[in-house]
Structures are given as structure tokens and as C-alpha cells.
Amino acid sequence: MTAVSPHKKEPYERMSEPMATLSAFAAMVKKEFIIQLRYPVEFVASFAQIFLIVVVLTLAGLMFAPDGVQSESSSDVTGLVVYGFVLFIYLSDTLWSVGFNVRREQKQGTLEQLYLSPASKFAALASRVALTLLWTGLLSIGAAVLMSSMLGELPFHNGPLALYILLMTLSGTFGTGFAFAALTLRIKEAANTAVNLLQFGFMVFCAPFFPFAALPEPMLWIAKAIPLSYGVDAFRSTLMGYPNGFPELAPIGVELGIVTLFGVAMPLLGFWLYRKAENQARRRGSLSEY
């Protein structure tokens, strides 16, 4: 049987790969941006909210600086809190935004429309995080400036290595986000409950706001079993210049290995899980269930 070639017979030309995927990706990001701008109150409030959280955390962080804000130990505390917070908002947004966006499209009925088109599903998932990462980047810079103005100068060492750790951790988290999106397709609204549970789990076991030393021994073992913990530890330890006792979970070489493996393997695993959930939804007819 001869296949019809849409490229030859139609008056409207088509882009070929990889431009087609990149262009679809850009269109999806633009669409998200326009929609965000049309909820101006929510848009502004989400920025303001982050800065208020920063102030609360900074003031709480001051309690751990016994010698005042200008001492050396306070600089470590500042670094711990600031970098932990930056990583937390990055990871948190990356982790949940994919699944939440998939669910939102499913509820409003547009998810099926995306599946009617030949656009790349990977690009569709990635576009949901791209804008979030951009805003989070801007917020992180703003938050870092605000916190250092309140707590004093931030320790800043090994910028390129810290950037590598950030990117690998984000990549791994992105993959975990795919897996969460797969779960969202399966359990729908119950995913919100799962998010609440996991978010607090992340805040406790990955210790973004306090040192791992604060965790009791059994909880520390759980923390050590989560790859994300090594990302948090390696990122802030590297930026702080490895002060005494840091990194806390393993030597930096081991942590880098774990973070790299997490960053490479998790997106593949997450996307594989998502495609499995997607096929199951296509079998059950639940892509448009809301």
C-alpha cells in the first residue's frame, strides 16, 4: 500500500525535523506565556509570594547564627539557607509543573487535541517546565540578592562545577517530573494529595533548609537513599567552598557520580514511564477524563 505524502501533495509546506520539534516547542512555551499573562493577579502574586517566603526563611536562618550576621559561621548559615532555598524552588517547580500542566490540559479538554497532532510529546512535556525554569531563575537571583542583603555576603566558590551540579540535578528532577506526570495520568485528582505528601517528604529528607546533620539516624538513611539529597548536598557544599563537615552525605566525587547518573538516567526512565501511562490511557480512553 502506497502512503500519501503530505509534503508533496498539500499547498502548505511542512517543516522537517529537528526544526519542526523546536518550532512546536517554542509555540507551546509562547502559548503558556500568553496564558500566564492573562491571569495578571496570579502572575504578580506568585512572584510576591516567593519574596515573602524568602524573608521568613532568612529571619528563621538568623536564629542559627549565634555570633551575629557578620561572623564566619553566619556566612555558612546564609549559604546553607540561600542555596538550599534556590535549589528547593528550582526542583519543586520542575518536579510538579509537568504533572500539574498535564492534568490541567486533561481537565480543560486540550490534552486530546495535543495528541491529535504529530507534535513531539517530549517537546510538549519539556515546554511545560521551560517557562517555569526561566521565572525560577529570575526569582532565584532576586531571592539571593534579598537574602544576602539581610544576612551579609554570600559564600560563592566553584561556580562552573555548581552550575553543572544544578543542571544535572534539574535534569534528574525533570525526569522525576515525567514520572509524576505519568502518575497524574493514572490517578488524576488524587495526584494533588500525592504532591502534598511528596513535597513535605522532599522538604524533610532532602534537607534543603537545614543541614543533613540535623536529621535523626533512621531518617538520614532514608535521605541517603534519595538521589536528590546528593544534588542538594553537592550543590550547596560546592558553592560554600566545602567548609568543615561538607559535603555531609558522601565525598564530593561520589556525590558527583550519583548526581550525574541521576541527571542522565532519570529523564529516560521518566519519559519511558510517561509513555507507558500514555499508552494505558489510550487503551482505557482516559486521556480526556476530567
Partner: protein, 333 residues
């Protein structure tokens, strides 16, 4: 030349879970499609008719790659379903779910340009194509307003415009005139006819038999997951043989319509409610012989008849002849 749609023994079984307490659940199987086979020729407007829940949308969703079949094969524009899904998606324009498939915070034009990008149109071509579709469907007046401000009919027209954005050789339209007023529905059907004259193949699902009669070259009637009849409209009407139809209106109690069903010389009968009256449709090979007997039986069971009309066979009558039910009755259920 490639046949646009070839379907071989397509089956779809859903498994639905029913909760029984906190931990127990029972699984029920629902056969939504029971071995559907069809061929749709290039340049046809092919109607899929049937009451709600007959399996039309399930079939459409399978053909548009949204659902995976349980068994069977299908080829769309020469590409095999489940093996070449992206190629199928690129060559099909779909209108499913009506207004729910749009981004309500975007304007109509922004929606069209966005979907153009998903079909891999270059940026300039997206804008040109959106302009051309907006002009063709007279959407210009509101194309630059957010969709959330549209009326239901305007949203449906935009959903139809979206199906045209990729200029695909095959259009699949699932109940496209739902929620449209009569002039808008007529206008939409005129556009479908025009697109068909330009060479596009169209699959058109509806539960309105009159719509199918006026628009479609061929139709398949689907009921409870099976194609119960297919062919051109005249052929389908002839398929119920030399039979004729009598429509009786008035106050017709259930026992009267039940008694009619068992009369000698009546092939099928079905009752429905029209404008507060009952309408009994009777299919019979011998109108003259049956009519006196029919009136006597109905009157004997308390029916008050107001109008008796021998009528030309319609697709609705074909449906009744095959199923013993009216389409309106099934759709309402």
C-alpha cells in the same frame, strides 16, 4: 491509488472497575466496537450514524490515534494504525469534543496559529493559513477576542476551523453541528460540501438522520458497536425492501403500541414522543392491508389518533427496520 480509510475487524473492549467497599472492586467488560469493517473511498463524504453510545466516537477516536483498539487493523491514508501514528496525525484534520478542545484564554487566531505549529507549519504559513480559514468561515469579527468571550456556536465554528488548519486530505468531524443554530449548521455543511468538492475525504458522524441524508454520499449505521447497514442513502432505503412507513400521532398508551408490534404484516414498530404527542412509526410491506387492522388495534387499546401519515422511507426508518427502536429514543437514553 490509496484508499483513505480501510478498517478491518476493529474491536474495542473497555474494562470498567466498580468499587465495592474500600478494597474490593469488580471488573466489567463493555464491548464498544464488535468487529467493525469499512472502506471509505477518496472524495467521499462518509456518514457514521447512530444513537449516542453506539460506538461512533469510539471508532473516531481509534481512527485519530487517541484510543488503542483491542483487536483489528486500520489504515489511514495508507499508514497503519498503531504503527505509524504520527504520519496518520499529520494527514488528518479532526474536530472532536467541540469547544472543549480550545484554549479559552487565547484568542481564536492565537489558537489557530498555535495548532498550526503543532502540525509543523512554518511560522509564516501558520499565519497565512489562519487568515484563510478565518476568512472562509467568517470568523473575522471575533477572531481576535479571547475564546472565553465566544458563544457556544462561535466556539464550535472555531473548533471546525482548527480541524482545517493543517489542510489535511482527510477530515474527521464528530457531530460538528452540535450546539449550532440552524443557519450556522447549514453554513457549516455548505463548507463541508465545498471542501469535499475540492477533493477532501470527509468522515462525518451525526445522530441526526436528516443531516446525513442531505450531506453524505454513503453512510454506515452503527448500533451497539456494530455496523448494521452501510451503503448509499438510496441503497439503504431500498434495503428495507418494498416496505413502507406509516406514522401515527396522538395519545398512544404503551399497551397499544405493544399490541401493534405483534400484529401480522408488521415488520417493525417503534414509539417516540414528539411535541408532547406520541408518534408511532410502523414499517410494513403492505400498507393497505395493515392500516385498518392497525387503527382498530390502537383504538381498542385506548389510543386517540390525531394524524395518520403514510411516508417515504427515511434513514430513521432504516434504523427502525434494523433495530426496532427509534434513534431519538436511543439518543435520549
Amino acid at each position: 491509488m490509496t484508499i483513505p480509510v480501510r478498517i478491518e475487524n476493529l474491536q474495542k473492549t473497555y474494562q470498567t472497575k466498580k468499587r465495592q467497599g474500600l478494597f474490593k472492586s469488580s471488573v466489567r467488560q463493555v464491548d464498544a466496537l464488535k468487529g467493525v469493517s469499512l472502506e471509505i473511498e477518496r472524495g467521499e463524504i462518509f456518514g457514521l450514524l447512530g444513537p449516542n453510545g453506539a460506538g461512533k466516537t469510539t471508532l473516531i477516536k481509534i481512527l485519530t490515534t487517541l484510543l488503542l483498539p483491542t483487536n483489528g487493523r486500520a489504515f489511514i491514508n495508507g499508514f497503519e494504525l498503531t504503527k505509524q501514528d504520527d504520519a496518520i496525525r499529520a494527514t488528518v484534520g479532526c474536530m472532536l469534543m467541540g469547544e472543549r478542545g480550545l484554549y479559552w484564554k487565547l484568542t481564536g487566531r492565537e489558537n489557530l496559529v498555535f495548532f498550526g505549529a503543532l502540525y509543523h507549519l512554518p511560522p509564516a504559513a501558520r499565519a497565512r493559513r489562519a487568515d484563510s480559514v478565518i476568512e472562509r468561515l467568517n470568523l473575522g469579527e471575533y477572531a481576535d477576542r479571547p475564546v472565553e468571550t465566544y458563544s457556544s456556536g462561535q466556539k464550535m465554528k472555531l473548533a471546525f476551523a482548527k480541524a482545517l488548519i493543517n489542510d489535511a486530505p482527510l477530515l474527521i468531524l464528530d457531530e460538528p453541528t452540535n450546539t449550532l443554530d440552524l443557519p450556522s449548521a447549514r453554513e457549516l455543511r455548505a463548507v463541508v460540501r465545498e471542501l469535499n468538492q475540492q477533493g477532501k475525504t470527509v468522515i462525518y458522524t451525526t445522530h441526526i438522520m436528516a443531516e446525513a441524508e442531505t450531506l453524505c454520499n454513503r453512510v454506515a449505521i452503527i448500533d451497539r458497536g456494530e455496523v448494521i447497514a452501510q451503503g448509499t442513502v438510496p441503497a439503504l432505503k431500498e434495503s428495507i425492501g418494498q416496505e413502507t412507513v406509516i406514522k401515527l400521532e396522538g395519545v398512544i398508551p404503551t399497551q397499544a403500541s405493544t399490541a401493534v408490534a405483534s400484529l401480522h404484516g408488521i415488520t417493525r414498530s417503534a414509539i417516540t414522543s414528539v411535541n408532547g404527542h406520541n408518534q408511532l412509526t410502523v414499517v410494513t410491506p403492505n400498507q393497505t392491508a395493515v392500516l385498518p387492522q392497525l387503527i382498530q388495534t390502537l383504538s381498542g387499546h385506548g389510543a386517540i389518533l390525531q394524524k395518520i401519515t403514510p411516508e417515504e422511507v427515511t434513514l430513521e426508518d432504516v434504523f427502525i427496520a434494523h433495530t426496532g427502536r427509534t434513534l431519538a429514543e436511543d439518543t435520549a437514553q
